[in-house]
């Protein structure tokens, strides 16, 4: 399916269909679970991958809350180094372990439902764009590797917005780059904090809830909730 075929003249005209579907990247489309394997490959514990990612996210959020710019790659490497230093017997040097684990970002897989769900969403007509807090070039290579590159109009990073999501500036940047009103856009994400931030910035939102979790009451609820991208395509079509 080429992008020329999916952008029909009716794009965005269905009552519930947004003109732009703006996708979060890590964990929403890209599966991070293989990072755990890399930890075991250097002699560390797989579960530490989750602790590390949470630490990285927390410090990035804290920079954003303080209105400062966070750099995903720099944060990822520095927090990884401090986690690996904190007491375990690696099977290689610390530098080798950091390089091995950071290298995983170039070889991540997409979630299983993305390969069929993304074309189903594209077929409905909206423009597809990504907005991640990490490097857009890295995500672009992952989608190219999965053969899905042509479905996307563009890949955006909050690096160019000056601040991470969920700051208002990050979502406003995406709307500007898409030359679209926020109300005509729908953010698609697995993280409730992203749904909340996009809602506050005037976007409609779709929460992808693959694990059947409960949405936290202290965040603004999503416009729609779906179990997968295919499920979302069905919801938006009806």
């Amino acid at each position: 399916m080429s992008s020329a075929e999916v952008r029909t003249p009716t794009a965005g005209t269905a009552p519930h269909l947004p003109a732009v579907l703006l996708f979060d990247v890590y964990e929403t489309l890209v599966d991070l679970s293989s990072l755990g394997t890399r930890f075991t490959e250097v002699g560390a514990v797989a579960q530490q991958a989750r602790t590390w990612l949470t630490h990285l996210l927390l410090d990035g959020m804290a920079l954003t809350a303080a209105r400062a710019q966070a750099h995903f790659g720099q944060l990822a490497e520095a927090t990884l180094r401090s986690h690996l230093e904190a007491g375990q017997n690696l099977s290689c040097t610390l530098d080798e372990a950091v390089t091995h684990i950071m290298g995983a970002f170039e070889e991540l897989d997409l979630h299983a439902d993305v390969t069929s769900g993304l074309p189903a969403l594209a077929a409905l007509g909206p423009r597809l764009v990504t907005l991640g807090n990490a490097d857009a070039a890295v995500s672009e290579r992952l989608f190219a590797r999965a053969g899905l590159a042509e479905l996307f109009e563009q890949h955006l990073s909050t690096d160019d917005a000056g601040m991470w999501k969920p700051s208002p500036a990050a979502y406003a940047y995406a709307a500007g780059r898409c030359r679209s009103r926020p109300a005509a856009m729908m953010l698609v994400a697995v993280h409730p904090w992203d749904i909340n931030g996009a809602h506050l910035a005037g976007f409609r939102t779709a929460w992808i809830n693959r694990a059947g979790a409960t949405y936290p009451g202290y965040f603004h609820p999503p416009t729609v909730e779906a179990r997968s991208l295919n499920d979302l395509a069905e919801l938006l079509q009806s």
Copy 2:
């Protein structure tokens, strides 16, 4: 030692001595490690306390990054409930477990160095104030219970600032309530993200590093680093 005794006419006039020492509360003065015990008392795993507190902090940070107000108590209870629901055999009902663990906030101990270190800092002359992201009345009761209430001029909460630390608004609120210039104040905290936020808001900063950790390179460094409150008192005196 009464507060009248410690506020000598020379307060704030020593070259390195701030007029106001503004203390973070949880983990900086108040020890949260006993929360783990409460988890085991309801049949849960002690280590889950850390995961829960990180989740609570992360979602509070995300609200702050989105320029929304976070309420510590509400976040604490909601995230606790979701952690306890996620698959373990509690020895009581979920409601009882939540009540038991939340009750711990009224009975937390201070870190061992606070009981002697806080009077040592007070003796140097600066005004002592707290600024936490949680309820100021709860912290006030903890300090009263520890017999240290009279050392403090006031207890502030970011509840009244409209936004959590590390937002600029939170520190500006504290400076306003203290009727002090930020540059005449020093934030004392264990969390590097708090040091970074206070620095960006114009405060001097003291990082209490009890565990001998490495300060992250992506945050602005503290003005001074100390291993304990007593250590900080010595540094500020010299």
